[in-house]
């Protein structure tokens, strides 16, 4: 049997020098094809004795593998070169002017329900004198927890399912903010009272199932002045709930709860009925609401949080609240599944989305006074 090394080297050199996919294919056929040079040698193995067959077979197989690898590499190289060549020929003049309008005949776009809901919330609170504030998503542990009266060993931390980023060079721990509340701290540290802010934005928790998304949206509210008390908290949030859900006599219930950064704290529920399996927000009839839906957490800002921000709790006080934007959007617009918000399914976006000019108008709440619920 002839020595295969020169043959192998010849083929490898041909492969290296191949300048087009066609040439490469011809080399492949002539080497490894049905009547290829190596293929014929393989067939010749049968005529050898067992020991010689073993040695020659191993060598042939090694050569075959080497050639195949070299062919693949060359094919990739030629493919890249062809692509680069093609791209080099595809030159457009990027300075050509474009007409300002949308491409003619294209469909109308939509605003995502999350954006629309945020705009609606801003419109309502804007009428009450709130201004929008924003803050970073990659947040210092201090703003997200410690300054909010949640020290490192606080049991409430365990309920936050926090995402972490590598610590900064100075050792400070970074988290993806688990709520919009750190913006309370940033605002109080940056501006003197009185304050009235709302903070819409992205929040993150390491939880993923049918009712939790690792990213979701919250809106935070903060009022700081000298005289605002629990009665104002109730007034403000009742007004919001009724305006947002557009139900004038919407029952709103406040019940005690716990947040490390508020004291006293309150959860806010709205009345609903589930007659015939359909959720309806509002009075369930003459006997009051059938059931309650929790939509907001709230409370008077904790004195320690004020102190942490350099504000004297003997002089200033106020309230804060937070709610999930997806949750209220789902309730208001009858969207059944949280996960669909982030799926970008065009059919969903066109169905639940809003027309571009559907800008929420400011709502002046008609707080009639009197007790809630």
């Amino acid at each position: 049997m002839e020595d295969i090394d020169p043959l192998r080297d010849d083929i490898l050199r041909e492969v290296r020098e191949a300048g087009s996919p066609e040439v490469l294919e011809a080399i492949r056929v002539s080497a490894l094809g049905r009547r290829g040079r190596l293929t014929l040698l393989m067939r010749g193995l049968g005529e050898l004795g067992p020991e010689a067959r073993r040695v020659a077979g191993a060598a042939l197989n090694a050569a075959k593998d080497e050639i195949a690898a070299s062919l693949a590499e060359a094919s990739d190289r030629l493919h890249r070169a062809a692509l680069a060549n093609r791209l080099a020929g595809e030159r457009a003049d990027v300075t050509l002017p474009v007409l300002p309008g949308p491409p003619s005949g294209c469909d109308t776009g939509r605003i995502h329900p999350i954006s629309q809901t945020i705009d609606e919330i801003i419109a309502i609170f804007g009428e009450m004198g709130f201004v929008v504030a924003e803050g970073p998503h990659i947040e210092d542990d201090f703003y997200n927890f410690t300054a909010l009266n949640i020290p490192p060993d606080h049991p409430a931390r365990q309920e936050h399912d926090t995402f972490y980023l590598p610590p900064r060079v100075d050792g400070s721990r970074l988290v993806l903010r688990t709520h919009t509340s750190p913006v309370q701290i940033r605002t109080m540290l940056a501006q003197p009272p009185p304050l009235r802010i709302i903070v819409p934005g992205r929040t993150f928790r390491a939880d993923h199932d049918s009712t939790h998304s690792p990213m979701f949206h919250q809106v935070e509210g903060l009022v700081i002045d000298r005289t605002t008390h629990m009665g104002h908290l109730k007034g403000c949030l009742i007004e919001f709930c009724r305006a947002f859900f557009d139900v004038e006599d919407l029952p709103v219930r406040f019940r005690p709860s716990y947040f490390p950064f508020t004291e006293p704290s309150a959860e806010v529920d709205i009345g609903c009925s589930r007659a015939g399996g359909e959720l309806k927000i509002g009075h369930g009839g003459a006997n009051g609401p059938q059931d309650w839906l929790e939509i907001l957490g709230s409370g008077m800002v904790h004195p320690q949080v004020l102190r942490n921000c350099g504000i004297d709790p003997a002089e200033y006080q106020g309230f804060a609240f937070g709610m999930g934007i997806e949750r209220v959007a789902m309730l208001k617009y009858g969207i059944p599944d949280l996960r669909t918000f982030y799926d970008s399914d065009l059919r969903w976006l066109r169905h639940y989305g809003f027309l571009p000019l559907d800008i929420p108008s400011p709502v002046r709440g008609a707080l009639s006074g009197g007790a809630a619920a």
Binding site: P97, P103, C106, D153, P155, T228, D343
Partner: protein, 797 residues
């Protein structure tokens, strides 16, 4: 936290039904997740005696039974092998619903014999898997009584969510105390009378670190017999979802859930010498009661005897010294363990236990001895035996403190006037010691009870009073508008984001919201994947890097839509990208893409694939909405690597980069397995200069003279940027030239190789007088000269 109504009534004297109690708990701040009425499905099933059981005349395996359920005798046909004369069982008369199947029992004839009900198996009542035979009841079960009440299932289970501050309500008595304070019942006294010891405990206790364990009480009990708990204890334990084990174990569970007093019981016969509370040594091991072995380190609070660590303080006990049926002597531990250390140990070893949950939230520091006495009495009662004296190590930590509650603060913070006497009554009902403050203005000096470590100031006292009175009592007050300076709700920065959003939607793009984290591989393709922007604990490997660009999420979305059969995609997102981990590293960007066809086929115009000019127009529209002076924005053919090198560009305003646009690079399409071309853009909204303050527009001068249009075509080098020509044309006479439109680009037949023709319309707008032909001619000459000079081209003849 679960309790049953009857368990609650052990501590609370009340006639209120479960529904009222649940409602009150909610309004006290204990969210009720459910009230489970376990008896609901068992309505109608009663205790009955089988008066006679005879073989069925027509079936070998059936029996004809006459049963007495208290309302006369009834005949039923029964297939159970254990149905026999004289036994007692559970009878379901015709008309009841069978829990297992949901069907209603009807009177019928089975193989020709009338059957007017059914004797029930446990499986049919959905109380277990046992369907081998009917339930057999003890002889003393009274005929006609409800089966549910006989077995204690007529006791609703209340499941409530205790907030992290209310450790005291992790015991049923704490819940009862809150309810009593709200007036729905009366808190019954608790008997914690000391039990006299009859011998000295042979086991002593030593504490090495008083921070980790301030107080440790122990008691030896000997000559006892551990066995199954009595029915009342087993029922309680089972009702809240625990498994009864033995009297000793059930007693520790009872103390945990009833009084929030976790205990540990060692089998004293298996202990070697005294117990020492100390930090574990590196590498020490313990086989815990959950069957798993743990390797310890020096941060862990261990309880050790001569042989080594036998228990992890406040977290879990050890298997080798745990109690069994054979246990005859025990050492009962009642101790206080540090909250922080307990939490850290639990986290480190990943042990979730009822003890840990309570110690890390705080245990009543004054209830160590009473808890031990109550446990002692229960052990003596259920297991017999003889108690030792109590051995003590450490001391009760100081918990006494007091705060002032001013009545005016009540109103100023809580929004409700509460008379001091009423506040006093509420706080006393909650266990506070209340006195009149020395200032004699109605202010109260309030010392919270030892189990309320969460009360840390006046604001907490205000909450306690409001909570018990009910938030409903607080009058609703409209938030006054006049206490803040009136400002627009959104500033320029936010406003232009909103404008860009609605502008892009107006251009036919559909808004998407995609995650801020993407896969690190995708991040790398879009110029990102910095180590400091990797999520340390991602929810999945696909979401492990903060995005350097919004585009990867949109390309993914385009692919998903195409895979569903909707390849014509026009999407945008207005959201953040992350350049580094500082607040300034986060920026708002408008990004979008168009794929498939820009619009469907139409009789007036053919369908068309998107190109870089669509992307450029989108990007410029977003930037214009953001207030950028787009007439000054320069496009250059040096796109970032994720774009097609020849069909994409960057947008700059002077040195500031404002965006990218163009077709995505074929490598990106391949990596995302999506079909091209895709025309994409990124517009850096935050980078656009904010418009100058002031709303006044420049003065508008409207010329009374007719404008004149002239067309010109130039043959130039194919690679000449059109902008070069346009700039030259604009510069000819800035006063006279109103507008220049490029209306034709031509290459090919009739033109030399490597050349193209650019045709423009120039609109001349005279201000002073109508233009004469000579003036127009002069302008044209100057324009041709200027353009030819700037471009090296020639007027097309």
């Amino acid at each position: 936290m679960k309790t049953t109504l009857s368990w609650l009534k052990v501590h609370l004297d009340t006639e209120a039904p479960a529904a009222d109690i649940a409602e009150r708990l909610i309004m006290l701040g204990h969210d009720v997740e459910g009230v489970e009425d376990r008896a609901a499905g068992l309505a109608g099933f009663v205790v009955a005696r089988v008066v006679s059981a005879e073989p069925h005349p027509n079936a070998d395996r059936l029996r004809v039974c006459v049963v007495d359920a208290g309302a006369g005798e009834v005949q039923v046909v029964c297939g159970a092998p254990n149905a026999r004369t004289g036994m007692k069982g559970v009878f379901g008369p015709a008309g009841v619903r069978i829990p297992k199947t949901g069907t209603v029992l009807t009177a019928s004839a089975i193989r020709g014999v009338a059957s007017n009900g059914m004797l029930m198996s446990a499986a049919e009542l959905a109380l277990g898997d046992d369907h081998a035979g009917i339930i057999e009841l003890p002889d003393d079960a009274a005929i006609g009584t409800s089966y549910a009440s006989l077995v204690g299932l007529d006791d609703p289970v209340i499941d409530l969510k205790v907030t992290p501050n209310r450790a005291d309500c992790l015991g049923v008595r704490g819940i009862a105390r809150d309810l009593a304070a709200s007036g729905i019942g009366r808190l019954k006294p608790l008997d914690a009378t000391a039990v006299e010891g009859s011998f000295r405990s042979p086991i002593a206790i030593h504490i090495e670190d008083r921070v980790a364990c301030p107080l440790f009480l122990g008691r030896h009990l000997r000559g006892l017999k551990n066995g199954p708990s009595p029915r009342w204890l087993r029922d309680r334990i089972e009702a809240i979802g625990l498994r009864p084990v033995s009297a000793l174990v059930d007693i520790t569970n009872l103390l945990t859930f009833d009084l929030n007093r976790p205990l540990h019981v060692f089998d004293a016969g298996k202990l070697a010498g005294d117990l020492t509370v100390r930090f574990a040594r590196s590498g020490e091991r313990i086989l815990a009661l959950n069957g798993r072995e743990y390797t310890l380190d020096p941060d862990i609070t261990a309880i050790a005897d001569r042989n080594g660590v036998q228990s992890l303080g406040g977290v879990i006990g050890g298997e080798p010294t745990g109690v069994s049926e054979a246990t005859a002597e025990v050492f009962v531990e009642a101790a206080l363990f540090d909250r922080v250390r307990t939490a850290a140990t639990g986290r480190r070893l990943e042990i979730v236990s009822d003890a840990r949950y309570r110690f890390e939230r705080g245990i009543d520091p004054a209830f160590v001895a009473p808890g031990l006495e109550i446990a002692t009495r229960l052990i003596l009662e259920l297991c017999g035996g003889e108690p030792s004296d109590i051995v003590v190590a450490g001391a009760e930590p100081e918990w006494r403190r007091s705060y002032l509650l001013r009545p005016e603060r009540m109103a100023a913070l809580g929004g409700l006037h509460v008379p001091p006497a009423e506040s006093c009554a509420i706080l006393e009902a909650l266990g506070c010691t209340v006195g009149e403050a020395a200032r004699h203005d109605g202010s109260l000096t309030v010392s919270p009870p030892p189990w309320r470590g969460d009360i840390e100031g006046e604001a907490d006292l205000v909450e306690e009073v409001l909570r018990v009175k009910g938030y409903d009592c607080i009058p609703v007050v409209a938030l006054p508008r006049d206490s803040v300076v009136s400002r627009p709700a959104i500033d320029h920065r936010r406003r232009r984001v909103e404008l860009a959003r609605r502008t892009l939607a107006g251009r036919g793009l559909v808004e998407a919201v995609t995650f801020s984290f993407i896969s690190s591989g995708a991040a790398a393709l879009f110029g990102g994947d910095k180590p400091q922007l990797r999520v340390v604990n991602p929810i999945s490997a696909d979401l492990d890097a903060m995005r350097p660009s919004v585009l990867p999420g949109l390309v993914e979305a385009a692919r998903r839509n195409a895979d569903r059969g909707f390849p014509d995609v026009a999407l945008f997102e207005l959201g953040p990208l992350y350049r580094d981990d500082r607040p300034e590293g986060q920026a708002n960007v408008a990004a979008g893409l168009r794929a498939g066809q820009v619009r469907p086929r139409d009789w007036r115009e053919a369908a068309r694939a998107p190109d870089l000019y669509d992307a450029k127009a989108d990007a410029l529209a977003a930037l214009a909405a953001a207030g950028a002076p787009i007439e000054n924005i320069q496009a250059s053919a040096d796109p970032p690597p994720w774009y097609h090198p020849g069909r994409a560009g960057r947008l700059r305003l002077g040195p500031t980069e404002l965006g990218h646009f163009g077709e995505l690079h074929p490598d990106i399409l391949e990596a995302f397995e999506v079909k091209g071309p895709i025309a994409a853009f990124e517009a850096f909204i935050d980078a656009a200069p904010l418009p100058r303050a002031g709303r006044a527009r420049p003065n508008l001068r409207l010329s009374v003279f007719q404008p004149v249009e002239r067309d010109f075509a130039f043959i130039v080098d194919r690679d000449l940027p059109a902008e070069t020509l346009l700039r030259a044309a604009r510069g000819v006479d800035r006063k006279l030239v109103g507008e220049i439109r490029l209306f034709d680009v031509y290459e090919g037949k009739g033109l030399p190789e490597g050349r193209k023709s650019l045709a423009i319309t120039v609109v001349l707008q005279p201000q002073e007088a109508t233009l004469t032909d000579a003036e127009i001619e002069g302008f044209s000459k100057r324009l041709v000269t200027a353009v030819e000079k700037a471009t090296g081209g020639a007027l097309r003849g």
